[in-house]
Symmetry: C2
């Protein structure tokens, strides 16, 4: 057995042991070391680089590693076999997806403003902000030899008197500690109730001195990123917020690779553990800590996620999703409780799932569509969710059509050598001086934060600016020379955004032609999807009254630059609205409002789905969109005018 030591920039070493010839990426996965491997370990993506600092790895040099890098010890972990005790450095950039959890992630004034606006908009549309949970004060007679009614009956009758309802139900888990609690609080308690289908259920019993809140947790589970808020179900008030990477990332960057992993022996359990035990549970515990409330008090959860994510979270057999004819096990699923999933909340807490409408349009989109408000407007809206998959919904209060395109993880910084999600250290906005070619960057984080990488909004700016400055041509190839522009021996160009000494990274932060190519395919997928969907309805792009852009690309997104690179259609800039994480705000609204939940289910039932791959001309549209801005310049009149 050899000793394998993983070093990190910002956290403690992890030590593991392995037999001679073991695969380094496998060892890392087993040791819970997050090394990103979007291609599932096929040496295709070049993301799983580590730096060997001691010992011997049997590892071929691949196209993703330059001579200089190889000399410095850089290796792809997916093709490396352990031949002795080894020590490797896992660079921050490789583990960026599973970066440390961020509590109170949504605290930026911009995020708060967006969140509040969404809430207001939905309220104005007539949705009542009320749910089935309630908290009441209940006082009972203390039992005597003359009054020997059992404790559950005593509580049932007292609750019945306050709520004026039929005989309430007490779940057996509540009965378990009932006698002890009633005695401790001297038969004077606060009771949380849930009212549904003519039933009042007694959920929890608390002393009268405990905080009078009923916490609920809304969660957006993205393929790459997970974000959540803890709120008081009685008032809707936000108690805590947090976000983190999806722990499943080490089983593949996209849903297809994860489904494949889930069907390997023990895979379904591994994938479920990665999202529940490794991701959601710490997230929930952290938020509860921040809110100063036990996580056991959480009485409701609502989850918005794509179809694959909700299948894998529930441990449901997901293989048919990826194989023709692409059949999920469910669209909507009900009656799931926290105890079924091993969540650290109140065991009987109901877990609401935003409904899917197809294998590739999931609950994140139905919840997001609700949050976007397009369902209650007569004007024509386009809702765009820029996630690992790009999903579009077009319509108004009369009809809604959706489609999905595979954008890849580029918008969240994946498939981009310097890419990362919009968190501390991410360059979220860039301007380039046309003469000196020097960039001016805006970095997320405290003042003085050095850049680690570039998030989606920063990449849009970068490409737009590189093009504007004539540094790259419409195909994304480097055509100017300078200190910051390099070409490797294969002729691949790159641009240095931050030299190593300016960055919080072990190497220069640079964008390569391969990165630009990946991003162009992502933006091309979105643009061609918009064109194809509108085309199928025989609508021109200027029928669009409003565009709602959502997703983890970051609130820093510059809509003008997004048009400039041909990602969004060339319509007036004021029609674009960034609405933040609409999936999370949708989940929040579904959780605190029964009417909102009903409306989301109604939206799901009424929304039609357009399968882009069945549309003639879609592939041509896509190919034509993989230029800056497009092969057909007439589609971007405002650019030629400029």
């Amino acid at each position: 057995m050899f000793k394998v030591t993983f070093h990190f920039d910002s956290s403690e070493d992890v030590v593991s042991f392995a037999q001679e010839g073991s695969n380094l990426l496998e060892i890392a996965r087993e040791a819970n070391v997050a090394i990103d491997a979007p291609c599932s370990g096929n040496a295709a993506c070049g993301k799983c680089k580590v730096q060997l600092v001691n010992g011997s790895l049997d590892s071929p040099k691949t196209i993703h590693i330059s001579d200089e890098e190889f000399a410095q010890g850089w290796r792809l972990s997916c093709v490396s076999k352990v031949m002795s005790d080894v020590e490797v450095i896992v660079p921050d950039i490789a583990s960026a997806y599973k970066s440390r959890m961020k509590v109170a992630d949504l605290d930026s004034p911009e995020e708060i403003r967006i969140f509040e606006e969404t809430r207001k908009d939905v309220k104005n549309a007539g949705i009542l902000m009320a749910n089935d949970l309630d908290m009441i004060r209940v006082t009972m007679d203390v039992p005597t030899l003359e009054d020997t009614m059992p404790d559950n009956e005593r509580l049932i009758r007292a609750v019945q008197a306050v709520k004026a309802c039929d005989r309430p139900k007490i779940p057996f888990r509540v009965v378990k500690h009932l006698s002890a609690l009633l005695r401790e609080y001297n038969y004077d308690v606060t009771v949380v109730t849930r009212s549904y289908d003519d039933v009042v259920e007694i959920m929890g019993i608390f002393g009268k001195d405990e905080p009078l809140v009923v916490p609920g947790v809304a969660i957006d589970i993205g393929t790459t990123t997970v974000a959540a808020i803890e709120v008081d179900m009685l008032t809707g008030k936000i108690l805590a917020k947090a976000s983190t990477g999806n722990g499943q990332i080490r089983y593949g960057a996209d849903v297809i690779n994860r489904i494949i992993e889930s069907e390997k022996p023990g895979g379904r359990q591994k994938l479920q553990d990665a999202i529940i035990k490794e991701t959601l549970n710490p997230l929930i515990l952290q938020m509860s800590k921040a809110a100063g409330l036990s996580s056991r008090r959480i009485m409701r959860l609502c989850i918005a996620s794509n179809t694959t994510m909700n299948h894998l979270l529930l441990g449901v057999y997901a293989d048919p999703i990826r194989m023709e004819p692409y059949i999920p096990s469910f669209y909507g699923i009900r009656d799931v409780y926290a105890r079924d999933l091993g969540l650290p909340t109140f065991p009987n807490a109901l877990v609401i799932f935003a409904p899917n409408i197809g294998s590739y349009v999931g609950g994140d989109i139905t919840a997001g569509t609700f949050a976007s408000g397009i369902w209650h407007r007569e004007t024509m809206s386009l809702f765009i969710d820029l996630g690992t998959n790009g999903e579009l919904v077009f319509g108004n209060s009369e009809f809604m059509m959706s489609c999905a395109c595979s954008a890849g993880p580029a918008f969240e910084g994946g498939d981009i050598s310097c890419g990362m999600r919009a968190t501390d250290g991410a360059i979220e906005a860039v301007e380039i001086d046309k003469d000196t070619m020097k960039p001016h960057c805006k970095v997320i984080g405290d003042k003085g934060q050095k850049p680690v990488g570039v998030c989606g909004s920063g990449i849009i700016d970068l490409i737009s600016e590189l093009f504007r400055c004539g540094i790259i041509n419409p195909k994304g190839k480097f055509v100017r020379e300078g200190e910051r522009v390099r070409h490797d021996k294969y002729g691949m160009g790159s641009y240095v955004i931050a030299f190593r000494d300016e960055a919080a990274s072990v190497k220069d932060v640079e964008i390569t032609e391969a990165d630009i190519d990946n991003f162009m395919r992502a933006k091309g997928a979105i643009f061609s999807a918009i064109r194809t969907m509108l085309g199928s309805l025989d609508f021109p792009v200027d029928i669009i009254d409003d565009v709602y852009v959502a997703g983890g690309i970051g609130s820093g997104i510059n809509m003008r630059n997004a048009i400039n690179i041909g990602m969004f259609p060339d319509i007036p800039i004021e029609k674009f609205h960034y609405i933040g994480n609409s999936s999370l705000s949708g989940a929040y609204l579904m959780m605190i409002s029964t009417q909102a939940e009903e409306k989301v289910n109604q939206i799901a039932q009424n929304m039609t789905y357009l399968e882009l791959s069945n549309e003639p001309g879609y592939m041509d549209e896509f190919v034509a969109s993989c230029f800056i801005p497009h092969t057909d310049a007439d589609l971007f009149p405002s650019l030629t005018m400029k």
Copy 2:
């Protein structure tokens, strides 16, 4: 650390390790060695005797151990401290309660006859033998690119078409493997459904070649003994039967001691594990094996048990049951599922509990009362359940009154030095030759089975015969001399039923004056309870038209002898009916018939409860009943006439 080895007559050694001075009974409990300790280890009952064959124990000689026994190495384990490596023999009689499980225990023609008669009687009273479970064949269209409906929706619609119902529910646990199952069976399956409250729930999905049965398990959980049957819910047919000792026995023989144990640190979990993991789960698995069906197919359970047993089974805080004013957490409890208890059945199987009506009259009695049929007769019936507690119900279709008395475990062979439950090796009937004083015994088991001890019905015969032959006087003291009658140095008499060489035991099977005294208190408790209850209604005993005797005392009970010793009132012998384990037959009926379940709940609501200790004169009655047959001979005219 010292090595402690437990030897047994009929099973393998158990080895444990303990520190110097550790208590031997505690070591045995931790090692799962069943040593009976009805008094909870207070040196009061003398049942925890073991024979030291090697090593050294620091152990005082108590009143329960004779000089000869002490010389032979007999020690009370509850007062023994380990002072070296030791080896002890645990006699069969001490572990008799947790004797090996017996599958098909109820196979005696007499038990079967009783069971069938009960079923017929209830049917004739108009109770429909139908429940909410059903099995249907369902065929679906195989999905295509043109028909991409999710699998759950496909199944829901197909079931809806067959059942002509509102949209059926599919629990998430069923959805989990749905896609895999539908594909395996090519969308042609057998579905088990449950219909309740206007809802049809899809319980399980099976291939069309699997056996068309829906197993359910009815269980009687007694303080001492557990008995169960597995049946087909669709036909009521019995598939398997089994009985075993209650694994909680090592935490005390009676409910009070068990509640005390349950409130020690970790105690509630220990008591719950003892009944579920150690007792019910093996019982269920054994029956399923005998029935040739996976235990995972069991879709329903019904449990009849006393109030303490059902509280401890559910892990519910039970302490207030034993303390004034004796308040249980619940009478009836609903919506408990197999998954909540970790039973090895279908996780979503509903577990029905027969309702309690007080802290000391539980679900075993409400189920038993139903099985006795007294609720549908106009004539006056007395139902007597001879368990560790004795419970009585008196009444007819108009009214029912119940009471409970603490009989102790004597009827099931507890608190009797040679006592055991009515299983293989138990002497169930005895006749004594008046001249030679030689006994003629009937032993349960295969031909040639040597006696191990005496069960309840055998003890009744023994005492009746010893009295008839003038060997004991009305106070239960030995007054004749002979080979089989002995007196120890304290003057305590005893009678040898089987000498060591005739018995399957390490010592003579004998009954002592202390045993007779214990049994007289048990039978006195029953008789005085009958007198007090009838007295409270101002009824003479001859108002009783029928007496239904139930319990683990054994079908061998001789009613004449039970009258002779003053246990039952002196009414015509043909009025007495032994109805076997009425608690189990009641649970069976509640399980397979929804109407029966409703009726049991109705019986529980309408039955009144008489607290004997509040009745003036009850203690005097009791004292007067602790004679053979009674201090007032006029109460037994048929005996004086003889």
